[in-house]
């Protein structure tokens, strides 16, 4: 497996507070990887560094061999990284279809082409029945699907998912896990999950990096990570059941 994303020595401080100290990890082409860690570990900061929301103070991020640290979010998207937002950000007055059309226009040259591509993506996420509804009328679970549909419509090589399971009921969570499994199988899209919900991480991730106090303290398969003493002490604790 060749590596698609490589983060090396990432550091970022906010007003003197070190959010990320020296984080290094990589994501291989075609895998589902997860970045986990306790609250305040720096997961969201790492996510924002990759997505171009912040530029790192130090360190590098390479995507497909190309440096992408310090690029704007739209350039990151153009490079082939699609993202979702933890607090969903649909375009509320646009229809569900038009929301996805905006994403599809990144690769499609015409609006008609983008509409056709968007409809296909909506079908894959089970949102086609809602296509004409304003995005503001969707349930949280459907808004999450819409975020994923929009990101997928930009045809990313890597899909960044920011706590995409947060606030979902277990059944909704399991349905979404199936959606990702399906996407991974059918299109081979590489996925990096930043996730709190262990149920989803354990079901999806082939490789996990554990972040604690801004540093990566362990990487490995789910089985390796949960048995790592450093991880157990910092994150999972003795009485956590998996």
């Amino acid at each position: 497996m060749t590596e698609l994303l490589r983060a090396h020595g990432l550091a970022k401080s906010f007003r003197g507070l070190k959010a990320v100290a020296s984080a290094s990890f990589d994501v291989a082409e075609g895998e589902i990887a997860a970045l986990i860690g306790p609250n305040g570990a720096g997961k969201t900061t790492v996510f924002n560094l990759i997505a171009g929301v912040h530029a790192p103070d130090a360190g590098t991020i390479h995507f497909g061999g190309r440096p992408i640290h310090g690029l704007r979010p739209d350039q990151i998207c153009a490079a082939g990284i699609g993202r979702t937002f933890q607090l969903v950000k649909p375009f509320p007055t646009l229809s569900v279809l038009d929301n996805v059309v905006v994403g599809a226009l990144r690769v499609e040259r015409t609006v008609a082409g983008a509409r056709a591509a968007a409809l296909a993506v909506l079908g894959r996420l089970g949102l086609e029945a809602r296509a004409a509804h304003p995005a503001a009328t969707l349930t949280l679970s459907d808004r999450r699907r819409l975020e994923i549909a929009r990101a997928l419509a930009t045809r990313p090589r890597l899909l960044l998912l920011d706590e995409v399971m947060a606030g979902l009921r277990p059944t909704e969570c399991d349905q979404l896990v199936e959606v990702f499994r399906g996407l991974h199988r059918s299109e081979g899209v590489t996925i990096l999950l930043i996730e709190h919900v262990m149920r989803a991480v354990m079901a999806l991730a082939q490789r996990i990096a554990v972040l604690d106090r801004g540093e990566v303290i362990a990487t490995g398969t789910p089985g390796e990570v949960v048995n790592d003493p450093a991880v157990l002490s910092c994150y999972l604790g003795e009485d956590t059941e998996l």
Partner: protein, 322 residues
């Protein structure tokens, strides 16, 4: 033919035959309605489509009016050459303001304040420049009005009416095209959520600048019309914030971001204003500011009872989308 297209065709035919049946007063009111409809439509591109609130659109009207007016006044060059100059200068002014604001993250109400500031200091600047005639005004030479001189845009009132009708129809068609284009999708995405738009690969800065440039350029055309219709220009009047607000009201009352809202709103407000003036005159209460009070009350009424403007609920009732 869809219902909307049929309705539009009927309206257009009515508007074309209107000068034959209307008297001079009705014609001047209709011209005014179209003037506000067009200008409000231009403003709507920036606010209604791309979500960037300008409270200083009188700036672009003034720039357009003075660019074409000065060319005619000083050099005798007619409006057809003045038009592209007016559009170019106004679009450039818009791009400069937009660049400053978007580059340094001035957004929302602060952006709106910036647009007022630019209109205000341009007004003060124009008051002190020799070529504009300053506060004394610039008076374009008025020729015989009974024969049509298209080259210098001179002729009877119907000429101005038809010019405004063509502009309004053209702006409607342009806006409909824009909304269905890549720009329209990107603008509405930016309006609804800038971060999400950017994450989908939209170069937000560039598309916002384009909205400002198009809106400013379109607005400059109403300035050129204004100069050759009224023939006198005063910085105090043309750049005033009151003018900017008048431009906006059509869209606000009709429906921000809609295609027909600006036209409907401009018609409603202009007719209302004329009716109030006539009613007050008939009653013998010619109180200064009475018109503004009525405007204020109507605006309040619309905000409270029709927060999305007159058009969206009407469109729904007529079974028309948008």
């Amino acid at each position: 033919m869809t219902r909307a297209a049929r309705l539009l065709a009927i309206l257009l035919v009515a508007a074309v035959v209107f000068p034959w049946i209307a008297g001079p007063y009705a014609l001047s009111v209709a011209t005014l309605i179209l003037y506000f409809a067009y200008t409000s439509q231009a403003w709507n591109v920036m606010m209604g489509f791309a979500g960037q609130l300008s409270l200083g659109h009188a700036l672009y009207v003034g720039i357009g009016a003075y660019a074409a007016g000065a060319l005619y006044y000083h050099l005798g060059i007619g409006p057809w050459a003045g038009l592209p100059l007016a559009i170019a200068v106004a679009a450039l002014a818009g791009v400069i303001i937009g660049w400053l604001a978007f580059r340094f993250g001035v957004a929302g109400v602060y952006f709106a304040l910036l647009t007022i500031a630019f209109a205000e200091f341009t007004r003060i600047g124009f008051d002190h420049m020799a070529w504009t005639g300053g506060p004394g005004g610039m008076f374009l030479p008025v020729a015989e009005r009974d024969h049509i001189d298209l080259l210098h845009f001179r002729g009877p009132p119907a000429l101005y009416y038809y010019a405004m009708l063509a502009l309004t129809a053209g702006a409607l068609a342009l806006c409909a095209r824009l909304l269905d284009s890549r720009a329209g999708y990107y603008w509405r995405a930016i309006r609804d959520n800038e971060d999400a738009a950017q994450a989908l690969g939209v170069h937000v800065f560039r598309w916002k600048l384009l909205a400002v440039a198009i809106s400013a350029g379109m607005t400059a055309i109403s300035g050129v019309f204004f100069a050759f219709y009224y023939n006198n220009l005063f910085p105090e009047q043309i750049f005033s914030t009151g003018r900017s607000i008048e431009i906006i009201l059509g869209s606000v009352i009709g429906g921000v971001g809609t295609l027909f809202g600006p036209i409907l709103g401009a018609a409603a407000l202009t007719l209302l204003s004329e009716a109030v003036t006539a009613a007050l005159a008939a009653l013998g209460w010619e109180v200064p500011g009475a018109k503004q009070v009525v405007y204020g009350v109507v605006l309040l009424g619309v905000v409270v009872f029709l927060p999305h403007g007159i058009w969206p609920p009407l469109a729904h009732r007529l079974g028309i989308r948008r």
